[in-house]
Subunit: 619 residues, 2 copies
């Protein structure tokens, strides 16, 4: 590939679709104009959408391939990021795209979280690896905002939200991956109230870089004498360069980059081994003032990070789809199936071939369905902000839906992102396997989304082990009620009735299977739960997505009625037709899986538990 | 990763499983000892299996990672393969592993094709990219063996089967990928009977290399005045270096490497753009003596190549599974689910966790099922060789099953290989995403298997458009009868009855859907066929695999009865337990999909055909 191609933006998003979700389907307008979003209206939101997309394409997009090809390296104990990353970081913070939803107290614009997710989708999709540095910085700052002392907030927040310093989250250790409770990093309290930190953390994204003058690590560690497991963990602020009380930089802290990983993808993001306190001179301070609060504090960041991973998934998948669509419209190959016997029939664009259309519509429905789910989650979060202190019931309902949907968004979006990328490659054919097109990189980048920030099985266990029963099952019940209401309102829909019937059956399957899983806890069939958890998460995600796609189709069909005839309404008509067909396709081809999965889980097959460990292979 | 790790063999195969398939399930012995396999018995076959595996691990395996990292490059118009490839090539041909099933006429060992597939699995699995050079050479030689003139056979075969010269297949052109009939490469007959070849071929695997003194290209081209489409194509032998009548090398032919592709994987395999006749001095000779026979000739090679791609899939998937299994037994993380509330409970190997067991058993059942399908196909091919001229009915039945199963083996194995690699990465967690372990490379290598040698949709259309109706449907009927007989014989099996019931339902679903597809051809619903083809291929593959896994389980359960008690029988008992659980798992979790897919296809959803092209997106 030529240098010019390596530096070309390949990112694409469909802004019409974004606007449909924000304003037609999820009516974000209803939350705008009142506190805390007094300063925001539809125009302001729309302007940010347009400009952020332009920024993503102009600044982040052209660095995606080069970041992948060049990757990160260590030079003199410091990580060097790919060429152009530093300039892009500076432009990002100059333009203010990371502070759209940051509080004005910290120089942010105080916008809705929903808008933040849209901006994030653009930035992730244009350059998933590059956007990890600001993404994790944002998450680390949020933890300090919510749990830090006033002094910590003063010292760190403007500098972190503003891009002067970056942030990381340091959980994983060589012996403690999914099993965070096994962390051995230790913290010993000093006379001045600071802590000496000692231990090794691995897989630390952005653990070092050359973008900022300082890196603020949030480190999980165990204070001497603390209980074992997750309950004994505390969270510490451990800057790479020590910070004086006036915010100026002191000497280097004892944090050493041991190594960086060589990975399948996201090569532009440095994944570091960090050694804290090798020379017994690593000082950290407790986040807040109370020890052993590390896990709840970290979970605040994890929740945001999990939504971000869902955004990474949909952003990459969406661009993979749109690139495949462009190729399918351009590339001519073969004749129409209706003329397959005539060797002289004209060659047609591959989008004319039924299997290519099937792949495209499959990708479209998944991408748009997942995005709808994320926007729904984000809107619930904004509703919490609006209703808090005004309408407790509404706030609780919305918070409950956020909690319930986070594992779905993280796991389903990331798993599907990889599959959509696979389909996109297949749509391209051989060309998709080459580095001349972006889809093979998307596919490699996407694989990690199913792994980090809690593997997708951990998400599934969070769903079935915690979220289903949360508040006595009230959140699940509210979700199921919402779906049931939609079914009831639309079961005689002139165009969608058959699809709504599928939705009803999927609803029954999910409700029934949820009951079955809860009964396993009670009947002492505990090991069956993790065996079924991933499948259940998939069922529930597809129910949610089927619902939201059908809801979108109802809205689209209604909107079509009001369109002017002929050319004036042609563009909108095409768009709404797309919404309709995506819903029809998903309802006929994907939604039935919930019912099938319920049948499979109903057999309670335990072969995977029963097989002896030495029976897997004779090697 | 250290240099030592990059040069370490990571390939693994389960030889006990191979022996089970060869001798216990598919009773290859019954075909040995009679012509053309007179010289072969169980011991000879077993020895080749052991030694070929050792060779694959010792010689091919250590070059897999380095081939990926270093890749191929062009130097002075010549492709340079990764370090070590030339030595490995020489050792391969010295050891004779590529001539196991080559006729003694050409210095081969005349062994069964089934054994060849086992050897190929080892070589592909140890180094998929490296093995493409000898694999394509073998295929090209086979075409010359079957269609070439006696002079061509004399000139080329010993040199190609013996590794002195390599071979390629040159079909694809920039405007003619899946649509081979659009090929523009031209052939103009000269007075001496040779042809001037002119055109550009792309995606030519092994199109150039530094392993052999000559490369023999088989080039599809159109003779002046030939009809359009595939029917006007002829096949030519076009050597890189001209060959004198005595077999000595002449001057260079006019074949120029224009470029090599940069790909997602199989980086050790050179993927070339070849320009033939840029200076109007490229001479080729017709394969055989009759023009316009290019497609049937190429199809002979394609058939073999498609089986090879199926082998690539299962080989890589199998090693991914076995590497994940090893990691799951070694890696300790978390406590047993039965002690999840106790932070001090001992850490356990991750194979103790239900979801890890589920992933492992899922991979095991798919890998072993696909391998069984390939061995079945290969055995049918050997049976054709044995019965030809002795028992026409048996020969025809076996040839029919080969024809029917080729698209299943190519498409299902390759699609599943990518999925199994995905699951293997997930089993490793973060470690699987790094280049410290081989699974991420396996995953990248595997993606192309679904694309080349005819995309998997082309395989699906070959199945539903040609193979289902072949001979009035006799091959499909024979296949379905074989399954039905197995069901009948085992429907009251004491352990497997419930699984056999699943098999019966899958059988009904496949038979019914086949009828439905055939009716679409007749009812003028032609565009529905390609829309359903991939799903049907999956249904039929899973029926076949479910059957073969259950057949294996019946055999395993019977064999277990005869085992000595205690330690003496422990290893075999564990192995047979594995066969049993793989079948139970597949029957309960995968086999029902055939029934579900039949239900989905029964709706005849046409949304992908109906959606207007401009409704896919507003970009």
């Amino acid at each position: 590939m030529s240098n010019a191609q390596t530096h070309q933006n390949r990112y694409k998003a469909d802004l019409r679709e974004i606007r449909f979700l924000l304003f037609e389907q999820f009516r974000l307008d209803e939350l705008l104009g009142s506190a805390p979003y007094d300063a925001w209206g539809r125009d302001e939101v729309g302007m940010v959408v347009d400009e952020a997309y332009k920024f993503a394409c102009d600044v982040f997009g052209p660095l995606n391939a080069v970041g992948d090809r060049v990757g990160c390296r260590i030079e003199g104990g410091q990580v060097k990021t790919p060429p152009g990353f530093k300039e892009a970081w500076d432009k990002l913070y100059e333009a203010g795209w990371k502070s759209v939803s940051v509080s004005p107290t910290y120089d942010g614009q105080g916008g809705p979280f929903t808008l933040y997710t849209v901006v994030e989708e653009f930035l992730c999709g244009a350059n998933a690896a590059l956007n990890m540095y600001p993404g994790l910085t944002y998450g680390a700052a949020e933890v300090i905002e919510h749990f830090g002392t006033p002094r910590q907030r003063d010292l760190f927040l403007k500098r972190m939200y503003g891009g002067q310093w970056s942030g990381t989250m340091c959980l994983t250790e060589p012996q403690a991956g999914s099993d965070v409770g096994s962390s051995r990093t230790s913290a010993v309290k000093q006379k001045d109230g600071k802590y000496l930190i000692r231990g090794t953390k691995i897989f630390i994204s952005g653990g070092d870089q050359d973008l900022t003058e300082n890196v603020v690590h949030l480190v999980l560690a165990r204070v001497e004498g603390a209980p074992p497991g997750t309950k004994g963990l505390s969270l510490f602020v451990v800057p790479k360069i020590r910070v004086n009380d006036d915010g100026s930089l002191g000497g280097p802290n004892d944090v050493v980059v041991g190594n960086i990983e060589h990975k399948m993808g996201i090569n532009g993001s440095s994944t570091c081994v960090l050694n804290f306190g090798e020379s017994d001179a690593c000082l950290g301070e407790l986040v807040g003032t109370v020890e052993h609060q590390g896990m709840p504090q970290m979970f605040r960041m994890m929740n945001g990070a999990r939504i971000s991973v869902g955004l990474q998934g949909v952003s990459v998948a969406s661009s993979a789809y749109l690139n495949a669509l462009e190729y399918a419209k351009d590339r001519k190959q073969g004749s129409s199936i209706l003329q397959w016997k005539d060797a002289t029939a004209p060659r047609v664009p591959v989008i004319d071939h039924p299997d290519v259309r099937r792949m495209l519509l499959d990708m479209k429905s998944r991408v748009e369905g997942i995005r709808a789910l994320i926007i729904k989650l984000a809107r619930h979060q904004d509703a919490v902000a609006v209703y808090q202190g005004k309408d407790d019931r509404a706030a609780a309902y919305n918070q409950g839906q956020v909690d319930l949907l986070v594992p779905l968004v993280k796991a389903y979006s990331s798993d599907q992102a990889f599959r959509v990328c696979e389909t996109a490659i297949q749509t391209f054919g051989g060309a998709g396997y080459t580095k001349d097109y972006p889809v093979e990189q998307y596919c490699r980048d996407a694989k990690v989304f199913s792994i980090y920030e809690g593997t997708n099985h951990i998400q599934a266990m969070d769903l079935v082990g915690r979220k289903l029963g949360q508040g006595g099952g009230v959140n699940l019940q509210a979700f199921l009620n919402d779906v049931a209401e939609f079914v009831k309102a639309n079961e005689k829909h002139p165009v969608l009735a058959a699809s709504i019937k599928e939705l009803r059956e999927a609803h029954e399957a999910v409700a029934g299977t949820a009951m079955r899983l809860l009964s396993w806890f009670q009947l002492g069939k505990m090991p069956m739960v993790p065996l079924a958890a991933n499948r259940f998460l998939e069922m529930m995600s597809e129910l949610a997505i089927g619902w939201l796609l059908l809801d979108g189709a109802v809205i689209a069909l209604k909107a079509m009625e009001g369109l002017p005839a002929g050319d004036a309404g042609a563009k909108d008509r095409a768009f709404y037709e797309g919404k309709k067909h995506a819903a029809l396709y998903f309802a006929a081809n994907v939604l039935p899986h919930a019912k099938f999965s319920a049948e499979i889980l109903g057999r309670e097959d335990s072969s995977a538990l029963d097989i002896p460990a030495d029976a897997f292979a004779t090697v």
